[in-house]
């Protein structure tokens, strides 16, 4: 994995960067709606702030998702600017799984904007948008293998769990900075209680996905895909450790209005968000540079040689004597 990154050209690095930021904006947009609807302890100012964050993130995610299409077209034409604007290449990419995923994501992100409309019905529309947006992650990449429906469902659940977690960073930070300790403490406590179930589901969905992709064996962990997963796992362990510290020490301190508790909790949430961003970047690199062992095994088991070895050069050939 490290060697693949070291040999990657500028275009690959740009693709990874755009994918990472697209992931972040998409999950913040969806997560903001999920948090808006699931945390009852949010103040009115907190809700107002979340609506704005959801809208800005949705618009950013839409732009970044669309950007991936010309970037893919450019890659397919050798990394040229002409390729990025070639109508035929853009059509080919738009008709590929990436295009389908982007279209579904744009639809979900548009529905998220209903969070600004009055009435309870609008909130459910926005929630549907958040769920559709998370489901768009399952429409491309390694989840297109078999069992496709199960893999798609697991990736969607995993994305919803991530969205819940990522969507909470901004409102929790705002509450700890702006609201009285008792009010902020109640919000953080509620999030911590619900996050337990969300994290358990997120981990279970991720683990089962790994098993289905053939990446949960010792041999698989030695592959670039497995190495990337181990990096992701290490970062996630760091996130869990910080989350545990927040729940067991810093949240009770905040609720007790202990001196400096708010600053320490804000800093811990900040560190948690940096680690989560690193997880997203690792995932972007993993899905750009590698493939899971199940896909590699499928290629190797066929009697027809792979593209790497079946290069035929035919004609009036004779070997030199």
């Amino acid at each position: 994995m490290i060697s693949a990154l070291a040999s990657a050209d500028a275009q690959i690095w740009l693709a990874i960067l755009v994918k990472t930021v697209a992931y972040l904006a998409t999950l913040v947009a969806a997560g903001s709606v999920v948090i808006y609807l699931t945390l009852g302890a949010l103040t009115e100012q907190g809700r107002s702030s979340l609506r704005r964050i959801a809208a800005v993130a949705a618009l950013a995610a839409a732009g970044l998702s669309l950007l991936r299409i010309p970037l893919r077209a450019s890659f397919l034409m050798g990394g040229t600017v002409e390729g990025a604007v070639d109508p035929m290449m853009l059509r080919i990419v738009a008709e590929s799984p990436l295009g389908a995923s982007v279209i579904v994501r744009l639809g979900g992100l548009a529905l998220i904007l209903a969070v600004f409309l009055p009435g309870r019905g609008a909130r459910w529309v926005a929630l549907a948008g958040a769920l559709v947006t998370c489901a768009s992650f399952a429409l491309r990449g390694h989840t297109l293998g078999e069992p496709r429906l199960l893999l798609g469902a697991l990736v969607t659940v995993h994305a919803i769990g991530l969205a819940f977690w990522i969507g909470a960073f901004a409102p929790l930070t705002r509450a700890v900075r702006c609201d009285p300790p008792a009010v902020a403490g109640a919000l953080v406590h509620e999030f911590g209680a619900k996050a337990l179930w969300v994290v358990a589901t997120l981990v279970a969905a991720g683990a089962l996905t790994l098993v289905l992709l053939g990446a949960a064996t010792p041999a698989a962990l030695a592959t670039p895909y497995g190495q990337a997963f181990l990096i992701k796992l290490g970062l996630f362990a760091g996130v869990l450790a910080l989350a545990g510290l927040n729940k067991t020490r810093l949240t009770p301190a905040l609720q007790a209005a202990a001196p400096d508790a708010a600053r320490r909790l804000r800093r811990s949430i900040g560190m948690e968000s940096v680690l989560v961003l690193a997880v997203l970047a690792t995932t972007a690199a993993l899905t750009t540079l590698t493939s899971p062992p199940s896909e590699q095994a499928r290629s190797a088991s066929q009697t027809t040689p792979t593209h790497d070895s079946a290069i035929h050069v035919s004609g009036d050939l004779s070997w030199p004597s």
Binding site: R72, F75, L76, M77, G78, M88, M89, I92, V93, S96, P97, L98, R140, G141, L144, G145, S291, S299, Q302, T304, P305, T306, H307, D308, S309, A310, I311, H312, V313, S314, G315, D316, L317, S318, W319, P320
Partner: protein, 88 residues
């Protein structure tokens, strides 16, 4: 076959590639060691294929590299290259 790195004593009349799943070859270039491009004539219309062929223009002795990029049927963008040498 020959495999990557083959040494030939005559120019090939066809460049062919086989893929284990349909591949839409979006870019294929045949270049010399100086980076000059040799014309390749393809008739696949950029359709997804498992067997691809292209006819190269006249080639003299020297080292050549095929560079290609494509879109697999599962949506993965792929690229690759291989080289061969024609000796007198």
């Amino acid at each position: 076959m020959p495999a990557d790195g083959a040494v030939l004593d005559a120019a090939p009349s066809v460049i062919a590639m086989t893929f284990d799943q349909p591949m839409r070859l979006t870019l294929i270039r045949l270049v010399t060691s100086d980076g000059a491009e040799v014309e390749l004539t393809r008739t696949d219309g950029m359709a997804p294929l498992t067997e691809f062929e292209a006819a190269p223009a006249e080639m003299g002795p020297g080292a050549y590299t095929i560079e290609w990029r494509g879109l697999a049927s599962d949506g993965h963008p792929m690229d690759g290259s291989f080289s061969f040498r024609i000796v007198e």
